[in-house]
Subunit: 221 residues, 2 copies
């Protein structure tokens, strides 16, 4: 049995949870308040971040490494295409969301509105929230452009790139920071992902002190 | 023939250059002043970053994706071990350097001292330089701890993790920001990497306005 140390609204944890669930891999979830820097947790991952996956007593860190490991050990159903060039495109987009989108959008919105309060690190900075709200428009438009040319973000099959994007967007949707009316095809794409059985546990997440809006778990949003 | 759009001191470009050179893959290098956001370059990579690899007319972005592609298409000599668990450890460390080390060290030192001047983004912030100089000690100690237990950073064979680390450290060594006297085994490790043929082009790099110190290219530093 695998154990995943995670935090409900962490997009990196969500990406791993979606991969595990899509492949129907049983996994025990342990919520970790990673910012409290518990010494036991730091021994599991000296970087002090979630997610961390425990496999046969060994701890594995960094969501990119964990998702590649899952794909290698549990290849079915695949979340990576078969040719090296297609795989490069999936990995490019995973980095796009986990690096660029995170820096420009997620950290400006989710961190300011939720993490700062949880971590007792002061009040939201309105300058950052404004920047995140501005930048997400550019990213939604980029996704819309991709989805004009492809059925899924990285090509014609659903891949880890879709889960990486959905992990960030679902965390932001929890705090009502996604304008689903901006683009028809991004909304359609999210509706398809949201209705997958793998998404159920994500939609059931609740963080104390931050109740989700009604549309969050609604498949007809 | 491959073409790599890169910038000499970019650690992400260096990681890719080291992988290509170690595998003796011929590749044309094109220096890209990516911060000038040339429209042609943005078409190659909308994220506006180096490195970008051109393969048969197709552009590939994000160093993690490029390195995995290289490994899949040119598996010899391998820069990844064979078991999924060992591969996860390599990828964990690549993310450690490209994410955590970059944020805490490289961006505080290299960005402040070099990129800001090149990009005409103002003067170095001494608070950031101080933070970077402090944090690099922790990272060198972590590397020393790993190398107490292993021949190379991720295990007993040289991998992409070593190249990721050497890419960051060599860029910082170019601006004399690495204290090689802090740990004997980190110095020994770097001496081994530095003397590889794959490292030659890195040691020959020169950025106009920033001449490297004498020890930078010296194998007996």
């Amino acid at each position: 049995m695998l154990t995943l140390y995670h935090f409900p609204l962490s997009p990196y944890s969500r990406k791993v949870r979606l991969s595990l669930a899509e492949k129907r891999i049983e996994c025990q979830l342990v919520e970790e308040r990673y910012w409290e820097r518990d010494p036991d947790f730091l021994r599991r991952n000296p970087a002090g971040k979630v997610p961390v996956l425990k496999v046969d007593g060994v701890f594995m860190a960094e969501s990119a490494a964990i998702c590649e490991w899952i794909e290698e050990v549990y290849p079915d159903p695949p979340l990576m295409p078969t040719t090296p060039a297609e795989r490069a495109e999936v990995r490019r987009l995973v980095s796009w969301f986990d690096d660029k989108f995170h820096k420009e959008v997620t950290s400006n919105l989710l961190f300011e509105r939720v993490n700062k309060k949880l971590m007792k690190q002061g009040y939201p900075e309105s300058k950052n929230i404004k920047a995140g709200a501005q930048k997400i428009k550019f990213h939604l438009d980029y996704m819309a452009w991709l989805l004009d040319h492809r059925r899924w973000l990285a090509g014609n099959v659903m891949t880890l790139a879709d889960f990486a994007a959905a992990a960030h967007l679902s965390s932001l949707d929890y705090i009502s920071d996604v304008d689903w009316n901006r683009s028809e095809n991004v909304k359609d794409w999210y509706a398809k992902i949201k209705s997958r059985p793998a998404f159920r546990s994500i939609l059931a997440d609740v963080v104390a002190g931050f109740p989700p809006p009604a549309h969050y778990a609604d498949l007809d949003f």
